[in-house]
Symmetry: C2
Subunit: 194 residues, 2 copies
Amino acid sequence: MKYPQLYQQFSQWTNIPTDQWSMFESKLMERIFSKGEYFLQAGDKVLEFGIILNGIFRLYYTDKNGKEHIKTFRKNGDLLGAYAEMLMNIPSRTYIQAMESSKIILINKDDFYPFYTKHVCWQILGRIAAERHFLSKEQREFEFLQLDVIERYQKFCDEFDCLIGKIPQHQIASYLGVTPVALSRVLSRSRKVK
Amino acid sequence: MKYPQLYQQFSQWTNIPTDQWSMFESKLMERIFSKGEYFLQAGDKVLEFGIILNGIFRLYYTDKNGKEHIKTFRKNGDLLGAYAEMLMNIPSRTYIQAMESSKIILINKDDFYPFYTKHVCWQILGRIAAERHFLSKEQREFEFLQLDVIERYQKFCDEFDCLIGKIPQHQIASYLGVTPVALSRVLSRSRKVK
DNA sequence: TTTAGTCATTAACCAGTGTTAATGATGGTA
DNA sequence: TACCATCATTAACACTGGTTAATGACTAAA
């Protein structure tokens, strides 16, 4: 078994027969991304997805004015890819960029899909992955509807604590849906209060 | 077959053997909701979910100040329930209220879950339901990050066209993440431009 | 018909944000 | 060292959105 850690992670969700796992592992590839390198850019065909062994990536898109909007960050153990575009079978609208030297496991979409019909465990994993993606977006919707900037920042610190310091503040601002100037003001205000 | 229309809808996603379908149908119940009646309120145990035959529901939660925030609206053919809370197995944080007289099909969560192990088609349906829920949230995230109020309003009109006139404008404002006053101003401004 | 309730609109005021620009700090590179 | 790029901070200004309150339209109930 090449990736016992990954097997552990998947086995949390459902039992995977060892023969299924070894077939799956045979399709996996490793790849290193250096800081700043892109896993995917807007317009690219979505041919594969990954699982992060170590490192940090940011996912963002650009609007009609060329401004970047950060959707989320991904770290150890997270799935990596343009998930929505893969489901819709359209070219990527998302840029996915390594924020530090990162190591990931890759699998081709076309190598993975056949597993769905080989064993029910892959359907279960697919369902749980979708459910977890949904839950994180539901949480984000909650934050946009109910929380102001400073509260959203605090939530960000809770969720991505290990990333503070590794992510420039203006990118956190973009994730929170405000400008770097606005976030800086808010943080400065909250420091004065304390 | 009691609900051929529902069978049709599910069959779009995957083939369902007739014996599976009749077992499934035997668990279904019908229920009518009159205007204003609640399918679910915050604090309720999430015991069941539904599929809307006809009518409109709104899903919202309240914040610490008692203000309502509308998450979405649901109409014919949509799944109805506190999906996130069901996945997390926690009490509902969501209020689900009929906006007009509505008819739905109900199934108990505990009656449905066993189907996951009876046939793979239910896993596939579960996965696709989760994927579709995810995609709609991803779309909503896009709108919050990239669009201003008037653009979000236009998107709303595209997505829920049949509901315009049936939904009070202040509830649309809540869905868009602004106050009724702000939405009214924005619409009045955009009317003048034309 | 009268009354009460819901809702959209508008005005006035204020807090917060976007924008632009200037400043200073930091870190990497020639 | 000097130079460059990146980034956080702050100021000034315009504008948007939140809040409150008043008004009028409409509907349903008494």
